[in-house]
Symmetry: C2
DNA sequence: CACGTTCCGATGCGGTTGCATCGGATCGTA
DNA sequence: TACGATCCGATGCAACCGCATCGGAACGTG
C-alpha cells in the first residue's frame, strides 16, 4: 500500500476554496484552476478528488444544506419558545460571519432553479425545518386570543427568512434591520399578551 | 442617410431572447451566439446593438426592474386597501404566466449579489415599493385593536414576497400555497375585526 | 533492493466564449 | 448613375473552460 491520501480531508479543503470563490464571484467564477490555486493544490489533485466538476459543486451544496440541518436539529434539541427567534435568524444567515454562507446559498439557489438535481438537495431539508418551526410557533402562540394556524405561520416565517437573506445580500436591508423585521413578526405572532414575547425578542437581539 | 435600423426595437427583440435563455438555463447560459440564434439575428447584429455583453445584461435587468416599477405605480394609482394583496402577489411574481419572469429575476439577483452595479439597479425601486406598501398597510390595519408599525410590516411583506418567489422556484411551494401564505399574513395583519379583511382576501384569490 | 501501486503536476486537446475584423450588400443622395 | 454612409454576417482570434493523458516521484511490500 504505497502513498495514501486522506481524500475526505482534501475534499474539505477543496470545498473551502469553492466557498471562498463562490462568495466573491458567484458560482460561475468557480473554475477548477482557481479552486486549485485557492486550495493550494495542483489541478490534478483537485480533479482526482471528485469525479467531475458537477460532483464537486454538488458536494459543496451538500455542505450548505447540512449547515441548515444542523441548525434545525440543534433547535429541535431544545424546543423552547425562545428558540424560535434564534433558529429563524440562524436560518436566515443573519449572523455576523454568515455573509459568505449566505452568498453561497444564494448562488446555489439560483442554479438550483435551472438544475432540478440541485433543487432536490435544497428541498430535502425543508419538511424537517417546517415541522420544527410549526411546533415552536404553536408553543409561542399558545394562549393568544384567537386560534393560530401554526403551519401557515411557519411557512410564512421560513419564506420571510429567505426573503430577508436575499434583501440583505442585495443591500436593501442591513443585518440589524433584517433582524428587527424578524423580531417584529415574532412579537406580533405571540400577541400582545403572548407568553414568550419578551424572552424571544431578547434572545434574538442578543445573538447578533 | 443610407440604411437605418430601429435599434430600440432590435434591442427589445434581443432582450426577449435573453429572457428566454435566462429562464431556461440561467444567466450563465446566455451566450451571444445563442441570443442571436433565438432572436433570429446574426451575431454581428446583436453585437452592434450593445456596447458589450455586460450592457446587454444590464438592459435586460432594467426591464425586470421596470416591470416592478410599473406594478407599483399601477397600485399607487388606485390606493385602496384591496390593492395590497394584489400588488404583493404581483411583486412576488405568483401569477400564472410569471414563472419565466421570476426565473430571470432570481438569476439577476444572484449575479447582483456579486456585481454591485447590478445590485443598485434592483435596489433603486425598493423605496418606492416600500412607501406604497407602507401606506396600504396603514389603511388596512386601521381600526385594529393595537397600534401597528406600518413600516416594519411593509418591510416584512416585501421580504416575504421575495422569499415566496424563491421557494416557489425551488419547488418547495406551489403557486397556490404561496398565495395562501400571503393571504394568511394579510388577514392576520388586518386583525379579526380589520376593515378590509374579506375584500383583500377575495381580491388576491381571484387574481391567480 | 527491486517491484508495483498510488499520487503528483505539468501538458495537451477539443470546445466554447466574447469580441474584433472585413469584404460585400444595401440604400439614400447628388 | 456614381458615391458614400450604413448595416450585414461570416470569419478569425486570443483566452478560457473541463477533462484526459503521461512520465516520473514517492512509498509500502516481497
Amino acid at each position: 500500500m504505497p502513498k495514501q491520501v486522506d481524500y475526505a480531508e482534501r475534499r474539505g479543503r477543496v470545498i473551502d476554496a469553492v466557498y471562498q470563490l463562490a462568495d466573491q464571484h458567484g458560482l460561475e467564477g468557480v473554475t477548477l484552476r482557481d479552486v486549485a490555486r485557492v486550495a493550494g493544490l495542483s489541478m490534478g489533485a483537485v480533479q482526482r478528488s471528485f469525479r467531475d466538476k458537477d460532483e464537486m459543486l454538488a458536494l459543496a451544496l451538500t455542505r450548505v444544506s447540512e449547515g441548515f440541518a444542523d441548525r434545525v436539529r440543534a433547535a429541535a434539541a431544545e424546543p423552547s419558545p425562545a428558540t424560535l427567534a434564534r433558529v429563524l435568524a440562524d436560518l436566515a444567515l443573519l449572523g455576523a460571519g454568515q455573509r459568505p454562507e449566505a452568498q453561497v446559498w444564494l448562488a446555489f439557489v439560483a442554479r438550483a432553479a435551472v438544475t432540478p438535481g440541485l433543487a432536490r438537495t435544497l428541498r430535502d431539508g425543508y419538511p424537517e425545518a417546517l415541522a420544527l418551526v410549526t411546533g415552536l410557533v404553536a408553543e409561542v402562540a399558545d394562549g393568544r386570543d384567537g386560534p393560530v394556524d401554526a403551519a401557515a405561520e411557519a411557512r410564512a416565517l421560513l419564506a420571510l427568512a429567505d426573503g430577508l437573506t436575499v434583501q440583505t445580500l442585495l443591500g436593501q436591508l442591513d443585518r440589524g434591520e433584517a433582524r428587527r423585521v424578524l423580531e417584529h413578526q415574532l412579537r406580533r405572532l405571540a400577541g400582545p399578551f403572548g407568553p414568550a414575547e419578551r424572552s424571544a425578542a431578547e434572545s434574538a437581539g442578543g445573538a447578533g
